[in-house]
Structures are given as structure tokens and as C-alpha cells.
Symmetry: C3
Subunit: 154 residues, 3 copies
Amino acid sequence: MVSIDEKLSNLGLTLPPPPKPVASYVPAVLAGDLLYLSGILPFRDGQVAITGKLGQDVTVERGAEAARLALLNALAVVKQELGSLDRVQRIVRVVGHVASASGFVQQPAVINGASDLLVQIFGEAGRHARVALGAAELPLHAAIELELLVQVRA
Amino acid sequence: MVSIDEKLSNLGLTLPPPPKPVASYVPAVLAGDLLYLSGILPFRDGQVAITGKLGQDVTVERGAEAARLALLNALAVVKQELGSLDRVQRIVRVVGHVASASGFVQQPAVINGASDLLVQIFGEAGRHARVALGAAELPLHAAIELELLVQVRA
Amino acid sequence: MVSIDEKLSNLGLTLPPPPKPVASYVPAVLAGDLLYLSGILPFRDGQVAITGKLGQDVTVERGAEAARLALLNALAVVKQELGSLDRVQRIVRVVGHVASASGFVQQPAVINGASDLLVQIFGEAGRHARVALGAAELPLHAAIELELLVQVRA
């Protein structure tokens, strides 16, 4: 049985330090066996690394990279909250908000960056319900923002 | 006691085949007694049937029709997941995203297409918490996108 | 032990009458120990009190005031549903939708109006997971719309 940390390592992935909220909210709240994460931006070294709007400043490929990066930040939060990613029973739901210029409608292709990576990391437990949406604007000019809902092993 | 399938039939409604996700996500995830659905577009015969923005290309009436159509797709997913719509204990929550041109603010009237139909089909169990929002863009130029959260009978 | 009603009073805050849905949905649904609220606008005296878009018609300060006002409306719904705000065990999650003109990306500063007030009122139990988003349009030209998820004491 390979641990999730080993799987991340095998995939050549490193989790960033979990982003710190800068206001009166917290990175995640556990209610029963469900862990609700705050909205996560594609942070790298404390900065939003991929900014701008899809269909204008950012290609679909680069948007998918932003989704992967935001997901790694989200998993860093999950690990911080649960101690180990092996406590993830199921990724229940992902909402992907894509900053979209007028006429851009390939939000699903962008959010696949996160969805595909979840299945690579967690296998069947990574298959989630998903919502892909086009946002008018996102905080700090981020190209994408992710929401995650995670079921935790008892 | 009339079954939900009979109610659908009495209302002259037919469920479409449930839409198939085209990526690493699934149509719905059950966590405890809550069924989380993926975002649902107004599909008919495998195509998004109602496209464009409210306040520009699509009237409120046609938008409400899109909401009804997306809801039928959502119920097709629920039936596929649960085996029978009679296992629905409560429609907990509906989020309706309406593709909105600048200045369009009648999102609630559009999403009523889904809300009213839920109560026609499920009665009191169909009364849900609801969020109506205006999106900049939606996948595949869909006029609306629905999220559903359903509580399942034990 | 100070009750939440006393805390509200100490903060000089009064809850408005809970807003009434005008369609086939309800203000809130309780599923297990989680109370899901419908989307809440900044109502005062039955009208949306703060309208327009951030980055165009509405300053960040005024937007934060809209978030505070919407939160008071949300708490009025919670009190109506639970009988007493002392039954709130935890504010699990807040989503803040900010009507955003092109280029406005200070959604977090706007939603802090609600987040800060939650901690003032509920202390640690008020620290929530949060998502801040920029909406193209919101119902009735509201400047902001809030979603709340509340865990209820057994």
C-alpha cells in the first residue's frame, strides 16, 4: 500500500507551504467527517503565480497549470489540517472558478488540470463531483480559484 | 402513495439519459446521506440546447425553460445514482448560475424554472435552500448551470 | 456566559426581520446538523439597500457595509430557524459573491465585513472557511450576496 506522500513523490510533486488566510477566516473547517476548504488561489512562494483572464491573457494550457498549482496548495491545507493525506477517504466535490473574458467557455478544460491530478494522486477516491464556472473577476487577479470538499476517514 | 416516477409521468415529463462527464470527475458523489451532483447544463440529445446570455440572447422565459431542462438532467443523474427517485428525502440546496449580460439582474426569475418544478415533483420535500447568481460565462455557452445537493432516505 | 443576543446588543447590532423568499424555495434547510441558508442580499426594510458594482459604483468600504448588512439578515434567518443563535455550534463556511466591474479584485476586503463581524459575534465558533468571488451580476442589482453554512449544536 503506497502512501499518498509517496505517490506525490513518484509524480515528482512537492506540496507548497499552505497559504495563510489574511483575515478572520481559517483555511478549513471540519464538520462531522467533511472538511470544507476556503477558496484557494494558485499561490507560489506567497504570490499568486498565474494571473489574468482566460480567453484574453491566459491560454487554456496555462489555466490548467494554474488549476494544478491551486490544487497542490489545497492539498497542503488538507495535510496541515489532517496530519496526513492518507486520512482522505474521498474527494467529494471540487468547484473551479475560472476568470473568463467575454466569450471564453472552455472552463472544463481548465479545471481538468485539477481533476486529472486528483485521480492521479488518489485513484478512485479522487473522483469527485465537479462544477466549472466562469467568474467575472477573482481576488488578486488570480486566473482560477478552487473550492474543495473532502471526506475524512473515521 | 404516488411514486415520483408516476408524478413525472402525470406532469408529462420524461427524464433524459443522464449526461456523462467527459473528464476525471463523476456525475455525483454520495457522502453520508448527502448526494453532491456535478454542475448540470441544459442538455438535450447530448447537446446544450439553450445557449447564450440572459439580457442579450435569451429571454427570461427561455432561461426558465433552460433551468427546467437542466433540472430534468439532474434528476436523471439522481435516479441513476439512487436507483429510484423515491429515495430522495429532501432537496437540500440548489445553486443556479445564470449567464448574464451586463445589467441583467432577474436571475431569480430564471432559476424559478427549476425551483417550481422541484416542488411540483417532490412537494414539501422539494422545497430547497437556493442561491441565484449571475455568471460571466458558462461552459459550452450554456445559458444556465445548476448545482444540486440531495438528502437521501436511509 | 454571555448569550449571542447579549453580544449583538453589546455590539449595538439589531437583527432585521428575516427576508422572505418570493418563490418555491425556503430561507434555509437543515440536513443532519448542518443548516444550509439560501443566498442572502443586503436587505434593509424589505429593499436591497446597497446596489451597484464594486470598482464602479460602490467603494470597498460601502461593499464591506453591504456584507455586514447581508450577514445580519442571514443571522435573522438562522435565529428564525433555530429559535436561538446560542444553538450555533460553528459557522462552517461563508461564500461571498461581489458584483464586480472589470478589473475589481478586492473581493476579500469586501467580504471581510461579514467575516470580521462573525468573529466579533461568535468568537472562535465564528471562524469559518471562506470563498470570495467576483460575480458578473447579482439579483436586484445587489452589491453582494452571501451564502452561509452553519453547524447546529445537538
